[in-house]
């Protein structure tokens, strides 16, 4: 898998992984590096070494907040945030169970809402996510406050042209472009 994986990630994300000389600027500026198992510069090093599969099960991929600081500061112009998006795709393929909780689950429930209504139905999204994480009572006080201030809508407000939104989702290909 090694050789293939390496070139596949490179191709998909359109990045020149070999350019990285491990200066560590990405990790120095990363606001969530403290919570990562592999730090941003280590993610690149593992890719260079063809040990990408270790990354696919790593927590780091789902801790990344996509703040783009690494991409902004890389002296080699490597778009690491984009690379992480690509790795997330491969991670979901290799380990479908990652979408059972945390960020991958949130993303899935979020997109399901978009697919169904064309827009995010915030209340439904939150309830569904909490239910699937088996934390039904989480943020109950906050939800109550938000409803009382009309910061949450009780019902979804779908787009009229749902057909066009459906077309977008059906044209989506299972590839990490």
């Amino acid at each position: 898998m090694n050789e293939n994986f390496w070139s596949e990630v490179n191709r998909a994300a359109g990045q020149k992984i070999t350019h990285c000389y491990q200066c560590g600027k990405c990790t120095a500026g990363c606001p969530v590096a403290f919570a990562m198992d592999y730090k941003p510069h280590q993610i690149l090093r593992l890719l260079q070494l063809g040990r990408g599969e270790e990354l696919l099960s790593s927590r780091a991929l789902w801790v990344c907040s996509s703040c783009q600081t690494c991409t902004t500061r890389c002296p080699c112009h490597i778009d690491l945030a984009r690379l992480i998006d690509t790795l997330r795709f491969f991670s979901r393929q290799a380990f479908p169970q990652v979408t059972r909780h945390g960020m991958p689950l949130f993303n899935e429930v979020f997109l399901r809402s978009v697919k169904r209504y064309g827009r995010v139905y915030e209340l439904g999204l939150t309830l569904q996510f909490n239910l699937k994480e088996r934390k039904v009572w989480r943020d109950l006080d906050l939800g109550h406050f938000m409803l009382s201030r009309r910061k949450l809508r009780l019902l979804p407000e779908p787009v009229e042209n749902r057909k066009e939104v459906a077309q977008i989702f059906s044209a989506e290909k299972e590839e990490p472009r």
Binding site: P31, V32, F34, A35, W62, V63, S65, S66, C67, Q68, T69, T71, T72, D79, A81, D85, R88, F89, R92, G102, M103, P104, L105, F106, N107, E108, F110, L111, V114, G118, R119, V120, E122, L123, T126, F129, L142, F145, M146, R149, R150, K151, L152, R153, E157, V159, E160, N161, E164, V165, Q167, I168, F169, S170, A171, E172, K173, P176, R177
Partner: protein, 286 residues
Amino acid sequence: MKLAYYPGCSLKGTAREYDLSTRLVARHLGLELVEIPDWNCCGATAAHSTSHFLAVALPARVLALAEDMGLDILSPCAACYQRLRAAQEELKRDPELKRQVEGALGRTFEGRVRVFSLLEALAQLGEEALAAQVVRPLKGMQVACYYGCLLVRPPLTSCDDPEQPQLMEKILAPTKVDTLDWGGKNECCGASLIFGAREVALNLIKNILHAAAQVRAHALVTACPLCHANLDLRQKEVNRFFGTNFAIPVFYLSQLLGIAMGLNPRDLGLGSHFVDPQRALRMVGS
């Protein structure tokens, strides 16, 4: 000036007051906003973390709708702004992807629509036009302008300098509010990590509140619904989790500007904040 208005999902719910205050302030400044008919979600982080195609095709529909209107877009939500800008750049860069997106939507792109954040739209009006509307100067109030990530990063889609943004300070200058120098202005609030990795997000929120408290900010100012939700709605949770006692109100840029313009705080949606902004407002006699 007339602009196609793209509120996005948050401004219809969680960030209702951002929608109210943006529309109200725009009206008083002579900015005509026409809501894009039947707009859809930009896909946000969920889409670009999942599929590059969705991340471009969802905002592309919004761009196409605005093209039909023949108007440039105002996107007050920082996340929508970044996704629209990123989609524009990708459609320019990748003709094959553009062809696929056009095929899926049954629409074509000429790529002549420009996308503005609220910061750009207000700054373009110029200091004089803004100053002319200020009837209630905010002298004595100290605020920390908080940009977060999506307005200023990555550089390709940034609406200001990615490391030392200044647009909010410039926009607020005519209000005489004291904009503080501080280190947290483009730090990350954690965004949707508050759902999927809560402790990580609480740490980031705490760091920003701490940085603002250190420079004795009376309030934070933001132009992003995700940042506002995390900093305002989660402040109590941060206090509970870390044993801190932050009580820093968070204004949307449009709300603070609206107050200086003498608009009714209630109409600006100031009653829907979790951290009560009354004390900060009383300091300037509002």
